[in-house]
């Protein structure tokens, strides 16, 4: 297959992997961020919240590992530049993922109140920080990184310092991710529980959604002002169907929540909303994976950073066989293990 076509296919797959990751890990990170509020009153509520996400958080996180691995394999230069340029935030993200995994999983291994409190605190803080970092990082990609191709280093060098990453637009992106996953997590929790916990979670989803919508709208407007994300959409207006679908899905989620009281359908719409939002952002960057906001020629795109056609083809064969298989058994496992939980 043609190198360009292969690169485009992998670019789209790259976006889809991130989208699926946010949809899946979004709900367990969201539920973890609810621990201090929804889980405030009782140990049994908190334990139920862990039992809801317990079987799935690891499988969900593998989508992140795969997205990272695919960046490395399909676009090595983009992986090298992105990970080294965002060194400190990504290492903090790594530490958060480590801590939340350990605290989530080990919490049940020792029936001691203090230990459980430490685990709860770590799960909450590490999930919150991870979500903020993901939001800030992606907003920085949308806005473009201060990159310059430096022939003396033979590398695309990050200009300036870490504080450049904390532009108001990017900070808002962090907040947007937090709110989006809070709604998403509360809906998932509602869907998977019954009784008091179910009611609390649904109440919180309903209370958070308007704030989320407000921030979402502001973010959309600021993206217009501060990020070059819309130029692809204005160039080919047919693509506008995607962001439009995203808005419709998020509104549908609210409609199902408030007017139909249907947490399941609302969650489904929220999944679609998160997936289309990610794809909107990724397609807006096309053909760049990491746009440079200093110099068009210093952007990392599917041409200058993709692997050889041979590697892309081999990986495509592997992906075509294994990704559908993975989706099948993850759905199967979810059906088997996602029973409705009642806090005792």
């Amino acid at each position: 297959m043609d190198h360009y076509v292969l690169s485009v296919i992998w670019f789209v797959l790259w976006g889809v992997l991130w989208g699926v990751y946010f949809v899946l890990d979004g709900y367990d990170l969201g539920i973890a961020m609810w621990l201090p509020l929804i889980g405030a009153s009782s140990e049994s509520d908190r334990s139920a919240m862990y039992r809801v996400t317990g079987p799935f958080w690891d499988g969900n996180e593998v989508w992140l590992i795969t997205a990272g691995g695919v960046t490395f394999a399909a676009f090595p230069l983009a992986y090298a530049v992105l990970f080294s340029s965002l060194y400190t935030p990504l290492m903090i993200l790594l530490f958060c993922l480590i801590l939340r995994g350990v605290s989530t999983e080990l919490r049940s291994q020792w029936n001691c109140r203090g230990f459980k409190m430490v685990c709860d605190g770590l799960t909450f803080v590490s999930s919150l920080v991870a979500v903020i970092l993901l939001g800030v990082a992606f907003s920085n990609l949308f806005r473009g990184l201060p990159l310059l191709n430096d022939p003396s280093q033979n590398f695309f060098m990050f200009q300036g310092n870490i504080l450049n990453l904390l532009h108001p637009y990017c900070l808002l992106g962090g907040i947007l991710f937090v709110l989006m996953f809070l709604v998403h997590g509360a809906l998932y929790l509602t869907w998977r529980t019954e009784g008091d916990l179910h009611n609390k979670a649904f109440y919180m989803a309903k209370a958070t959604w308007p704030v989320f919508l407000l921030v979402f709208l502001v973010y959309v407007v600021l993206t217009f002002a501060w990020a070059g994300l819309y130029k692809n959409y204005f160039a080919s207006p047919l693509l506008l169907a995607l962001p439009l679908l995203c808005a419709v899905l998020f509104l549908l989620s609210g409609y199902q929540m408030y007017l139909k009281n249907n947490a399941g359908k609302s969650l489904l719409a929220s999944c679609g909303g998160i997936l289309t939002l990610t794809l909107t952002g990724v397609l807006g960057m096309f053909p760049n994976l990491i746009p440079s906001r200093l110099d068009v020629n210093s952007s990392l795109n599917i041409i200058n950073s993709s692997s050889t056609p041979k590697t892309l083809t081999i990986m495509l064969v592997v992906a075509l066989i294994f990704v559908p298989t993975v989706i099948c058994y993850q759905i199967w496992a979810h059906k088997k293990l996602a029973w409705v939980i009642k806090a005792d």
């Binding site: 317990g54 499988g59 490395f72 394999a73 090595p76 290492m91």
Partner: protein, 440 residues
């Protein structure tokens, strides 16, 4: 300060800690699967308890292996950007395939296993733990083939300053990778069987659940015997492959300085690196090293003095780690043979049981030393003979950034490892009667 040195320390910390958990994941998953298979086939509830008991230790260990593994994938990009840029076409795809083929399988079915007791049919439950075991072993294969490329780069051509894939088949059939794989997986089984025997010995010593643990001990003694032998044989083969493909590493492992035909093996050697020779070399076995390395007493082994000083690995850590690893391996082999012979009356050994408890850390130490030989022995190359470690770092990263994350990582890893080991010891000591909460 050089960020590359700090990055090396950070990577060493990350991999060393990761490898405290990996071998037990591989070995104990099969042990648990074995026990559960016996339960499904015989219907004997004791085997179900066995699977639950060992599975619980496995789960604690597993999560630490998983989270410390993420650190590696991150660090190739964060700290080794030039390396990633250079090898991404080959190395990156192996990692991506590992995630797609193995990590999903492992993470999904470990949950089915942990949460699925009494919820899904017995046979399917047993299949789940087998899938986890197989997935973790396949995962090891991909990562060791990736590491194999760093040790013995094959199947690539350099184009526009980066290594590009020439033959995927050659990458997948890399002798070096496969030999490391065999040695690593056998070693993982050895580590798990000695851990099981050690835990059993503790319960024999305190006299609780003796029959329960005697069953586990007998199985583990069988595993230990088979796999200490396999591990030694695979290690010997790996040594020969190393002699063929990485002469500088092999010379450092044996502290051979002069190139000569029919190289003797000195039973007593003390390197003197500053003088480019050995302080002591005594008790030669004529042609011994040539024979060990090449199956012929006459062949020539390249000495370090025929390798440019800039291309030599640090001799002391490689030489010393290799000797100690081999020594520990011999102790384990002897212990495995004896255990297999005396397994029938082991519970009555009294204070002698403490030997088994003291043996638990030995395979851990041997495994870490083996990696020190492999990775320090590869220096000064990140890709042997092709790219130097000094050129592999991340241009935009400053030393103080790495210093900060190295410090943070040391603290976090210390805390989670200690917590993990305490919880594993606790689960092991509490025994099968432990009805403590498990959220399944």
């Amino acid at each position: 300060m050089d960020p590359v040195i700090l990055s090396r320390l950070q990577f060493a910390l990350a991999t060393a800690v990761h490898f405290f958990f990996v071998p037990l994941t591989i070995g104990l998953s099969f042990f648990t699967a074995w026990m559960e298979t016996k339960y499904v086939r015989t219907g004997d509830e004791v085997y179900k308890q066995q699977a639950k008991f060992w599975g619980r230790i496995f789960l604690i260990n597993f999560v630490l292996g998983v989270v410390t593994g993420i650190a590696l994938e991150f660090q190739f990009g964060t700290n080794w950007a030039n390396y990633s840029k250079y090898v991404g076409d080959i190395f990156g795809s192996l990692l991506a395939i590992e995630a797609t083929v193995s990590f999903f399988l492992e993470s999904t079915f470990i949950a089915v296993w942990a949460f699925g007791w009494e919820k899904i049919p017995k046979k399917l439950h047993c299949v789940s733990i087998w899938l986890v075991a197989v997935a973790s072993t396949i995962s090891a294969l991909w990562i060791l083939l990736a590491n194999g490329f760093m040790q013995n780069p094959v199947g690539y051509v350099e184009k526009d300053g980066v290594a590009t894939l020439a033959s995927f088949t050659e990458v997948l059939t890399n002798t070096y990778g496969w030999h490391m794989y065999l040695h690593t997986v056998c070693g993982a089984f050895v580590l798990a069987s000695f851990l099981v025997m050690g835990v059993c010995a503790w319960h024999f010593f305190v006299g609780k659940n003796v029959d329960f643990f005697h069953r586990a001990f007998k199985t583990a003694a069988g595993f230990a015997l088979i796999f200490t032998i396999c591990s030694a044989l695979a290690g010997h083969q790996l040594g020969q492959v190393t002699a063929r493909t990485q002469p500088s590493k092999f010379a450092a492992m044996e502290s051979v300085w002069e190139t000569e035909p029919s190289t003797p093996m000195y039973l007593l050697t003390i390197p003197n690196v500053t003088e480019d020779g050995n302080l002591v070399q005594a008790l030669p076995v004529p042609g011994g090293l040539s024979f060990l390395a090449t199956n012929s007493f006459d062949n020539t082994i390249t000495g370090l003095n025929d390798i440019k000083p800039a291309d030599r690995p640090p001799v002391w850590p490689v030489f010393f780690s290799f000797r100690v690893m081999v020594g520990l391996g011999c102790i384990l082999l002897a212990a495995a043979v004896i255990s297999f012979i005396i397994k029938g009356f082991v519970p009555s050994l009294g204070w002698g049981l403490w030997i088994y408890i003291l043996l638990i850390p030995v395979p851990y130490l041997a495994a870490e030393l083996g990696w020190i030989v492999t990775e320090i022995g590869r220096q000064p190359w990140v890709v042997y003979g092709v790219m130097r470690t000094a050129e592999a770092g991340s241009p935009p990263v400053d030393w103080y950034q790495v210093a900060g994350t190295l410090g943070a990582m040391a603290v976090i890893y210390a805390i989670i490892s200690i917590t993990g080991f305490i919880l594993m010891i606790r689960a092991a000591v509490l025994g099968p009667d432990n009805k403590a909460e498990h959220y399944a």
